[in-house]
Amino acid sequence: MSGQIFVMDQQVVCPGDLLAEGDFEIPWSPYIYKESNRYYASVVGVVDVKNGTFTVVPLKGSKYWPRVGDTVLGMVEDIELYGWTVDIRAPYPAYLPASSLLNRPVTAGEDLRRYLDVGDYIVAKVEVFDRTTNPILAVRGSDTGKVTDGTVVSISPSKTSRLIGRNRSLLNTLMSMTGCHLMVYPNGMIHMRCPSSAQEEAIKGAISLIEIEQESRISDLTEKVRRFIASKLGETNVSSSAEA
């Protein structure tokens, strides 16, 4: 690994901006484009420079790029003979085999609508995905399965890292201020369980605030969201967040 990095940490880059020259061992990313020994950014994003390597975190993008092993939340789009087509906000439709959810082989002619209907939400892992096949989902482990309670909202997949914040700072602020439980999935879907609808509305407002947010620094965003929630729910909940 040798070469020169031309960008600073947290710098905003455009497509075509020269990031580095030389030979770097960086994981494959659709957001970095290499020509001969020059590395260019391929999207509008923020550069993370760490320990002599770099990554580009996109600031734009309404599509999720599936990664094997990711746990995603999707909506059932269609029911097929032996499984479901699930919208996971990727350029490709995902397929969930019924045997994976039911943990047994499916008998021919079985009505799968009884287990998952069109419009239902499902949490599943991306089991298989590459250039030639559409993503195949699997229900494995306790944190996956049909979503039976709470509310599902969405944000641009490129904004999920901002919603979570550095070391989960923004997400923890949101949860401690409202008492809601939030699960953020990498495809931009958010599952929340709130004590009441007032908190739910506050979270929804905060999420749309993050969605239209243009600032590139997360610390400022956390402060903005903190003020927003405080104005919505009153100051009583703010003190509890100070301890958290």
């Binding site: 075509g16 260019y40 391929s42 509008v44 734009k60 599509k63 350029p91 590139s216």
Partner: protein, 242 residues
């Protein structure tokens, strides 16, 4: 209206053009991203009186399925002039010229977008010319390029382009309507500036080899200027506040 006019003097005695520009001067440029709510990405690009809005959808599943390509994204591009974009109403049906320009713009975009990242999928690009005053193909192409950046679609570089022509035997940058109509040559050229690659190159009229060389240099200078404005327009949306 213009057709009925007599051929005007394109360069006056002070060496200035009909709109008061120097021969190597660009028209004023305004770029705005994210102007449409429903599209995945959008942009308005204005260059003088030429005004184009572009919208991008995708990458998404390709329908009909048999049209999809196994190794890359299919780009569907539509360049269209609105009926009110010209001084006399333009028939909104796609003309021969619009179909051809759609193809030329598609090929330019195909060389910029990393199409191999999304096999079997499709990206739709729509461009509407709101106001036409020469150079609509390049302004459309640049609007599309900005809309693609707004949509977060990976590409090799932003596209910047400008036309160089001959007005009264003088090489001029960024033609306006009068120079386009009465001038001796019109050469639109678009590039990916940081990779130094040409994505669109056409020439109407005649130029000597020496004129062509000079025209290329002039175009490169204009493109570098536009490229900086494009980057500024994108980065302005993400100001760091301290």
């Amino acid at each position: 209206m213009l057709a009925a006019q007599q051929r005007p003097r394109l360069i006056d005695e002070r060496g200035l053009r009909t709109d008061g520009r120097r021969p190597d001067e660009l028209r004023p440029i305004r770029i705005e991203l994210g102007v449409l709510k429903n599209a995945d990405g959008s942009a308005i690009f204005e260059m003088g009186n030429t005004k184009v809005i572009a919208a991008v959808y995708g990458p998404k599943e390709m329908h009909p399925r048999h049209m999809a390509l196994p190794d890359r994204t299919v780009l569907r591009v539509r360049y269209h002039m609105t009926p009110f974009s010209t001084d006399e109403r333009k028939n909104p049906a796609p003309s021969r010229r619009e179909i051809e320009l759609s193809k030329v713009i598609r090929e330019a975009l195909e060389s910029a977008i990393l199409t191999e990242l999304f096999p079997r999928a499709t990206i739709d690009v729509f461009m509407e010319v709101l106001q036409a005053d020469a150079g609509t193909r390049l302004v459309s192409l640049m609007a599309a390029s900005m809309a693609l950046a707004d949509a977060g679609i990976p590409m090799r570089d932003l596209i910047a382009g400008v036309a160089v022509g001959k007005a009264d035997e003088v090489l001029v940058l960024d033609l306006n309507e009068a120079e386009d109509m009465w001038g001796g040559a019109d050469m639109p050229i678009a590039m990916m500036p940081s990779l130094n690659k040409v994505v669109l190159f056409q020439l109407n009229g005649t130029m000597t080899p020496e004129e062509l060389r000079q025209a290329l240099e002039l175009a490169k200078k204009g493109i570098a200027e536009i490229y900086q404005l494009e980057k500024k327009a994108i980065k302005e949306k993400f100001v760091e506040v301290s």
